[in-house]
């Protein structure tokens, strides 16, 4: 017997039918074949050019292959213990996920039901908006003000059905951040009406003294939840591991939506080892500081304006379509992120790599500007 296709129009809810899947880029080998380049310099995903800390590299090398057949700790037990020691909190205040992306979904599932909404910015990391929308909840996206999250407009956009505010601090892609006063003021205004998520995926890159560490505010604001990831500073993007932290009570609610065993064992040991590293953060910061300053200088010398404060990335405004620049750079083996999808047409976002990578990027960009008739 064969069964005919079910009536998908009837089976799928309307918020799914009107949502289109995100299509990730093709694998490097295929992209290289299409674009005819012999190497590919990825400056599109804000990865750490130094890779993982030495300690994590060792943990990965020492991982016994046979352990691949054994289920990992279902709730990243040892990692949570270590995070608790490190931040002076309880292990149960942490939830570890398959990347910070997964914990975004945990939080939204835990607090939203039909008719609820979340509030975030229009030009920020898109996953908060996506998860809300494909789960059937409204995502209210508030325009940025001077490239930063607009606290007043976010409060004005909220109503009694607003369950979560998402603040990306520092913001991807603009690099702006809320300082301590601004964050505290916002938290005070929200009071205990909603959950406030502060996504600190890039916090380890920030060196500004007035940058607030949300982890330290959790005891004062039990409705505050912070997200962290091992993908950026700790160079473990491919192992997929990130976490959230909050008050025991809030985390207890979120835990109910967790998929246990979603974090693999190698990721857990590599993350644990990353927390032991001593000089990795400092080395990465030094590299990013130098390379970003160089990049910014070169762009300005070309007459191109840049947007970028904190974080390991810089936005550049081009005198042409960003998607055309993408193709032309790809032909030369350099991959950047177009910003049209972030609602910044003609901007590209360049991940800060090591100096040779930055030299390559600048040379290739000059080539295409020249090709397009720009006087440089």
């Amino acid at each position: 017997m064969t069964v005919t296709m079910p009536d998908l129009q009837c089976l799928a809810p309307s918020h799914i039918k009107c949502f289109e899947a995100y299509i990730p880029s093709k694998p490097d080998d295929m992209l290289m074949e299409y674009y005819g380049c012999s190497s590919l310099l990825r400056l599109n995903n804000n990865e750490n050019p130094l890779g993982p800390p030495r300690e994590s590299q060792k943990a990965i090398r020492d991982f016994p292959p046979k352990r691949a057949s054994v289920y990992p700790s279902g709730d990243a037990y040892h990692l949570r213990q270590r995070l608790a020691e490190r931040f002076g909190m309880e292990p149960d205040q942490f939830l570890v996920g398959n990347g910070a992306n997964e914990v975004i979904a945990f939080a939204i599932k835990a607090f939203c039901q039909e008719g609820d909404n979340i509030v975030t910015a229009d030009k920020t990391f898109a996953v908060y908006e996506w998860v809300a929308r494909f789960s059937g909840y409204e995502a209210r996206t508030v325009p940025l003000k001077d490239y930063g999250f607009d606290d007043e407009a976010m409060l004005a956009a909220a109503d009694e059905r607003t369950k979560i505010f998402f603040i990306c601090n520092p913001n991807n892609p603009t690099g702006t951040y809320w300082n301590r006063d601004k964050l505290l003021n916002f938290l005070n205004q929200v009071g205990n009406r909603s959950i406030v998520v502060v996504d600190e995926a890039y916090c380890e890159f920030v060196e500004k003294p007035d940058y607030p560490d949300a982890m330290k505010l959790l005891s004062q604001y039990p409705n505050l939840v912070t997200f962290r990831t091992f993908s950026k500073m700790f160079g473990l993007a491919s192992l997929r591991i990130g976490y959230l932290a909050g008050s025991l009570e809030v985390v207890d609610i979120i835990r109910r939506t967790c998929v246990v065993y979603s974090v693999n064992a190698m990721a857990q040991v590599a993350a644990l080892a990353a927390l032991e590293s001593r000089d990795h953060v400092e080395n990465t910061r030094a590299l990013v500081r130098e390379a970003k300053a160089y990049l910014d200088y070169e762009m300005n010398a070309l007459g191109l304006s840049t947007v970028g404060g904190e974080g390991c990335y810089l936005m550049v405004r081009l005198p042409m379509s960003d998607s055309l620049a993408y193709r032309k750079l790809m032909q030369q083996g350099v991959m950047i992120r177009t910003m049209t999808g972030f609602r910044f047409p003609n901007f590209i976002r360049v991940s800060v790599g090591d100096m040779p990578a930055m030299h390559t990027f600048v040379t290739c960009l000059k080539n295409i500007l020249r090709e397009c008739g720009h006087d440089i």
Partner: protein, 431 residues
């Protein structure tokens, strides 16, 4: 606006003819068409239904009436794999030995009665034949419009239907007709389209509420492309910052949708061309007989992952040149060229834009008779006095490559490529 559709499932049999007619008539009346338009919808429905009774007797079909703000769409939906595809050839001269064919003028007649006519194949087996009838609107009489003094400051926001209708009258006074979309000539139509959500618009506003410019864009319910009209700037200084801000707004509106590209096919000097790539241009004959080149501006909305295209060797030089010029990562493949069955007959859909004086042919299936079929279709558009005839080839479908030699022999030339506009890239030809 109550956007409820009316649907009917029935068989193509003469006894159901009054049912189909009455439903189309009553529904289009309820959806706001005037008496004269309702009558024409009923007539067109009659033509199609009767011709279906002859060509596909007893086959199951659905008739759907959909409100569209400024128009009503009547759709005939066929799910049947065995549906006789030849039915869609809007010509009576193919296989003149087949008497039934000579009677198959229903589609052509229907197409003359309505404002828009198209057939789409939305998945392998489902065909949708669409008739669009518009409400009748007064054409704006034009009149003198003077440019505004430069604005000290401005902001861009979504425009309401009334504001857009007003801005359209400003654009009418300041721009040549070929730069404007048809709905700008009928401002009430534009307002209805906006109300319905079929079109969106943004405007630039000065400190005292002055309307400094407008951009409008279609929001198609499906499809990979969005077409924008404008930006149009109404200040004396034609401030490019206004044009860019309007275009930024439009791009921001569609940025998170699964749209592959934004096109603009009506040149005006305010368009910030550096936002676009010029993919080519089309020679166009306007109502008054004037001929001009209409450039096609394209902006890719996603990072191009690369794709394959299927092309006949005769099209390869054009494609290679275009792909190299536009830096599009493509692998050009040649179909194997297997001979088709001796009796296979090709099928083309004709999409009419009667008001725009244009017809576009879309291949539905290949056949041994492609050259004759193209000739017959050209004969038909000549008789119908269509000034602009286009041919759209989907380079994502290998079998469509078979149409290339006959197209070139019939004096069609490839004009431009729109990346990802169909299953793959679309190539547009004109004569």
């Amino acid at each position: 606006m109550i956007a409820t559709q009316v649907s009917l499932e029935l068989a193509a049999a003469p006894e159901f003819f009054p049912v189909a007619r009455a439903v189309a008539e009553k529904a289009s009346q309820a959806m706001g068409l005037g008496t004269a338009e309702v009558r024409r919808v009923a007539m067109a429905t009659e033509e199609i239904f009767m011709s279906l009774c002859k060509s596909a007797p007893g086959k199951q079909l659905a008739v759907r009436c959909l409100p569209g703000g400024h128009c009503v769409t009547i759709e005939f939906v066929f799910h049947d794999l065995n549906f006789p595809l030849e039915y869609f050839n809007m010509t009576s001269s193919v296989a003149a030995d087949n008497e039934e064919d000579l009677e198959n003028l229903g589609l052509l007649v229907a197409s003359r009665i309505v404002d828009g006519f198209s057939v789409i194949r939305d998945d392998g087996s489902r065909f949708v034949l669409k008739l669009v009838k518009e409400k009748s609107y007064p054409q704006h009489s034009g009149g003198a419009v003077t440019s505004l003094a430069p604005l000290k400051d401005f902001s861009v926001r979504e425009s309401s239907p009334e504001e857009a209708a007003y801005a359209a009258t400003q654009a009418l006074g300041l721009y040549p007709a070929h730069a404007l979309p048809r709905e700008f000539f009928y401002p009430q139509m534009l307002a209805d389209m906006l109300d319905f959500g079929r079109v969106r618009a943004a405007m630039a506003q000065g400190p005292a509420g002055e309307v400094g410019g407008i951009i409008a864009w279609d929001r198609p319910p499906d499809g990979n492309m969005v077409e924008c009209h404008g930006p149009f700037v109404f200040t004396e200084d034609r401030n490019p910052a206004i044009a860019e801000a309007l275009l930024d707004f439009c791009i921001g509106d569609i940025a998170k949708l699964p749209i592959m590209g934004l096109v603009n096919r009506r040149h005006n000097p305010d368009i910030p061309v550096h936002y676009f790539e010029t993919v080519g241009s089309l020679p166009v004959t306007s109502d008054d007989g004037a001929r001009f080149q209409a450039p096609a501006y394209f902006r890719q909305m996603q990072e191009d992952p690369g794709c394959i295209v299927w092309a006949h060797e005769a099209l390869e030089p054009f494609l290679e040149k275009q792909y190299a010029r536009l830096c599009l990562p493509r692998k050009i493949l040649r179909p194997s060229g297997r001979p088709l069955a001796p009796k296979s007959r090709s099928v083309l859909f004709t999409e009419f834009d009667r008001r725009g004086g244009a017809a576009t042919f879309w291949p539905v299936s290949p056949g041994r008779d492609i050259p004759q079929n193209i000739a017959a279709h050209l004969e038909m558009t000549k008789k119908e006095r269509v000034a602009n005839v286009l041919f759209a080839l989907d380079l994502g479908s290998p079998w469509q490559a078979d149409f290339t030699p006959a197209l070139l022999d019939a004096d069609f030339s490839p004009r431009y490529i729109l990346p990802y506009a169909g299953c793959g890239d679309m190539a547009f030809f004109s004569r």
